[in-house]
Amino acid sequence: MVRTNKDRFFLVSLLMLISASLSAKTKEYYLTLQNHVFVPSEIVIPANTKVKLVIVNKDDTMEEFDSFDLNREKVLFPGKKGHIFIGPLPAGRYEYFGEYFPNTARGTIVVEANHVD
């Protein structure tokens, strides 16, 4: 039960904080796998920011997105899309590859400190 003005203020602040965090949408970046090649092969994202990476597998075989630099692994089913969250990351280059076809399915996520969309 809310008893005092102080309690009311705390409750309203809490609700505002929750709604603000829900409405703050994470920026999405898209990656497509076609003919065992990731397109684009290089994605530039801002430093110190969490982003959502949506990966669409247009091939008719499975693939697994893998990155030691990002500590991420995601199974990509044929004709389906999957997503992973990455970051916040310091500026640098982070490599990723497809586990099943590592010779062709490769790419880099470039994290820039002064990134402008």
Binding site: T26, K50, K52, T61, M62, E64, F68, D69, N71, R72, E73, K74, V75, F77, K80, G82, H83, I84, F85, I86, G87, P88, P90, E99, Y100, P102
Partner: protein, 263 residues
């Protein structure tokens, strides 16, 4: 294709062999009979069949994070089951049926997940006659590497059990800590947990993508760029292990019995 199959086999299957080495040290024959091992095998096969037949629909649950959540739940269950069984081993108490079932089901789940990941890869290339031979040869090499390593590792653990039981406990504690800490990445990947600051980068000495990196990750949860929360969970797990196993007054009075229990 051949090299890639070997690498994937080592990456996905070696952790299973390492866990089996520890289980053979701590649980067989004191906690698990031959019948239990057969049950473990059957449950693993059933788990693999279930996972492989429903993996696509499972992955779409919880806004695309179904597999990550399932893997996390099973990994955490395995962690606590192994910790519980270690306490039972040290205290030389008999394991009851519920504890035994928790242990067997969780381990079967873990093995099923790891083997399923490899079988997904395997099934992709087995259907093509061009890649069939190199995939099978690569899998044979991978199996050979895993079996050879496991034999040496089991011998080392056995020697530690007889001569340095405290060191064996330390190795076990590091293994469990690494095992638990690695579940964090699954949760961060689907945005259940936020990623924190990277504490250091040791990839110039041991890269995660190297053979040593695979091995150290499977044995002790090594990552070249650990985050703050990774280090915190790792340390908390070590403290928990010390609290439930090493610290009890019982240990200060008695020596660890290498065959299980305290003397």
């Amino acid at each position: 294709m051949l090299i890639n199959t070997v690498i994937l086999f080592v990456k996905d299957v070696l952790p299973v062999f390492i866990m089996l080495s520890f289980i053979s040290m701590f649980h067989i024959p004191q906690l698990m009979t031959r019948r239990d091992v057969i049950l473990l095998l059957l449950l693993t096969l059933a788990g693999m069949w279930l996972l492989n037949s429903h993996i696509e629909s499972l992955s779409e649950l919880f806004d695309g994070g179904g597999l990550e959540l399932l893997y996390t739940v099973i990994d955490v269950a395995v962690y606590f089951a192994l910790l519980m069984s270690c306490i039972i081993f040290i205290s030389a108490k008999p394991i009851n049926i519920v504890q035994k079932l928790i242990l067997i089901v969780s381990i079967a789940g873990y093995i099923a997940i790891n083997l399923s990941e490899f079988f997904l890869y395997f099934s992709t290339f087995l259907v093509s006659s061009q890649t069939l031979v190199s995939t099978l040869v690569g899998a044979s090499f991978g199996l050979g590497i895993c079996v050879s390593f496991t034999a040496l590792f089991a011998l080392t653990l056995n020697s530690l059990r007889r001569n340095r039981p405290i060191v064996l406990l330390l190795v076990w504690a590091l293994y469990l800590a690494g095992f638990l800490a690695q579940t964090l990445y699954q949760l961060q990947q689907i945005d259940v947990l936020n990623s924190g600051r990277v504490l250091w980068n040791s990839s110039q000495w041991v890269a995660d993508s190297s053979e040593y990196g695979y091995l150290l990750k499977a044995m002790f949860g090594y990552v070249s760029t650990p985050t703050t929360e990774y280090a915190v969970v790792y340390l908390l797990s070590l403290i928990l292990f010390a609290a439930v196993i090493v610290l009890p007054r019982k240990l200060s009075r008695a020596k660890l019995n290498p065959m299980g229990g305290l003397q």
